[in-house]
């Protein structure tokens, strides 16, 4: 049982703050690090993996700092973003090299086991240069898993995987988490994180915006106020009727239509159709104005 502890960790590069005062404890099980691109997820993972020094604060893995301590890699595995690998090696040679570098007593057996875990036995004797993006990702996961680390950190592991590979990888991470290992992976896609992780840490603009159980965070995300743009046969009359509804918090009349702030997503979507019919107003367009993930995240930090 190995946990990762961060206390007031910040990391900046010149004037750019990549990670801002993050405090969290990550224990065994699967933890998803969710946030939009540029939120500092990669930087945070690199700090946890000992490939970066916190500018301020304290970070420990299994009770000792990760920075400048190669011994940490006996209990930690890292899968970086991107596809870097020794492309001239075969998958099997690559994982075996990793096993040897970890000074495992039986590197061949460890490599075979890790390759089996990621379901790459078939193509393992082909050169990595011939692999698809998803296969490269899996062989890199095998190399990071070969020494059965207590802690496994993965940066955007599902990028470039097809749905079947994605399911397989999610299942693998889930099994490792259930077995008591500490698994942390980053993603900018809510659904990916929701599938596998029990705990979610949401990062926005370098800060920890929300943290906890997946269901609680999902509720935070869906029960937030929504903005819709509505265009109809008579915007002014529709606006007047809408403001009388409890699900509506505000209406603004603009040249492009009505901007409606709804306090409850579900109630508003059923209300508006009924209302328009009762008033005899033709609805032309109903657009959610802020459904991008960024606005969901922005709401969480506000």
């Amino acid at each position: 049982m190995t946990s990762i502890e961060l206390r007031g960790v910040s990391r900046w590069y010149g004037n750019v703050v990549a990670v801002n005062d993050v405090t969290m404890t990550i224990g065994p099980g699967v933890t998803g690090l969710l946030g939009p691109n540029g939120a500092g997820k990669s930087t945070l993972l690199h700090l946890m993996a000992g490939f970066g020094e916190p500018s301020r604060g304290e970070l420990t893995v299994g009770g000792a700092p990760a920075w400048r301590r190669p011994d940490v890699y006996t209990i930690l595995g890292l899968v970086t973003e991107g596809e870097s690998a020794y492309a001239f090696l075969t998958g099997a040679q690559f994982v075996l090299a990793s096993a040897r570098l970890h000074r495992l007593p039986d590197p061949e057996a460890a490599a075979r086991r890790a390759i089996g875990l990621v379901d790459m036995v078939g193509p393992m004797n082909r050169r990595i240069s011939t692999y698809s993006k998803g296969m490269r990702q899996r062989i890199r996961v095998a190399a990071a898993l070969v020494h059965e680390p207590e802690v496994l950190l993965l940066d955007e592991p599902f990028n470039g995987m097809d749905p079947r590979q994605r399911l397989h990888m999610m299942d693998l991470l889930g099994r490792l988490g259930t077995a008591g290992r500490t698994i942390v992976f980053s993603s900018h896609i809510l659904e990916e994180v929701a599938e596998v992780s029990g705990t979610i840490q949401v990062m926005v603009a370098g800060r920890l915006a929300a943290s906890g159980d997946f269901r609680a965070i999902r509720r935070l995300m869906t029960s937030r106020p929504h903005v819709f743009v509505v265009r109809s046969g008579d915007d002014r009359r529709l606006g007047a009727a809408l403001i009388g509804r409890p699900a509506v918090r505000g209406v603004e009349l603009t040249p492009d239509g009505l901007r409606v702030q709804a306090s409850d997503y579900g109630a508003f979507s059923t209300d508006i159709a009924r209302l328009a019919r009762a008033e005899g107003i033709r609805l032309r367009e109903l657009l959610p104005a802020d459904e991008s993930l960024d606005s969901v995240f922005a709401y969480l930090v506000a």
Binding site: G38, T43, L45, F51, P70, G77, L89, L101
Partner: protein, 239 residues
């Protein structure tokens, strides 16, 4: 144990793939070819072996071969990110650096020191050939320690190394005698000329100075390179 066979074999395959090995083979082949041609055409002039194999060999072929190999054994992996597969292991950083320097040195010996030996045999016989070979081996070690360190210190190691070889050793050391004291190719020449005296090799430093400074450079660059590799940082998406 400061040498890791797994790292060495990956390094050899990465830095010396088939096509690249052909590229490295061109300058030494020129060196050997020129020596053979001169041996056949002007055997009367006694000083040309020292000019071609000493001056040209030690200030062009040897340093440039060491530069390309020494900056790529670790630098190429740092550039494409694959070095993380070495660094995310408990292998001591000291072992990574010394293995990289060892592989680069052996490759430099194959592509620069052995050709000096062969060309020396063609040009003037075993004494000069042996001197050139030992001098080139000594210089290869110092050059590669220097260039591997450069590739941990800057992402522009090739440019920095080229600046040293061309501007410092090529221009300054020729114009200003004092600059030769910090010229690795003159250390090599000093060793060569002490093994093969009387061949007009013209080293700019004495043997003792060359040996002491070589040892200091190797020790310092290795230590700093190990330290820098231990502080290797990955830049995140916001960088």
């Amino acid at each position: 144990m400061n040498f890791d066979p797994t790292i060495a074999s990956i390094t050899v395959r990465a830095a010396l793939g088939r096509r690249r090995a052909l590229l490295y083979a061109i300058p030494p082949l020129i060196l050997i070819g020129v020596s053979a041609v001169l041996r056949l055409t002007s055997p009367a002039d006694p000083s040309w072996p020292a000019r071609i194999l000493g001056d040209f060999g030690f200030s062009v072929v040897l340093p440039l071969t060491a530069l390309i190999i020494g900056t790529s054994v670790l630098g190429a992996e740092v550039d494409d990110g694959s070095v993380i597969h070495l660094l995310a292991t408990p292998v001591p950083r000291r072992v990574i650096i010394t293995t990289k320097v060892a592989v680069a040195t052996v490759a430099t010996i194959v592509f620069a020191a052995v050709p000096e030996l062969i060309a020396g045999l063609i040009a003037a016989g075993p004494r000069l050939a042996l001197g050139l070979f030992i001098g080139a081996v000594a210089a290869a070690i110092v050059y590669n320690a220097l260039f591997v360190w450069l590739s941990t210190a800057t992402s522009r190691a090739l440019i920095a190394g080229l600046g040293y070889v061309v501007i410092w050793e090529g221009v300054l050391a020729n114009l200003v005698g004092g600059a030769r004291i910090l010229s690795v190719s003159h250390y090599g020449l000093a060793v060569a000329s002490s093994v093969a005296p009387g061949h007009a090799l013209r080293p700019g430093v004495g043997l003792v100075t060359a040996c002491v400074l070589s040892a200091v450079i190797i020790a310092v660059t290795l230590a700093v390179a190990v330290r820098q590799l231990g502080s290797f940082s990955l830049r995140g998406e916001t960088a």
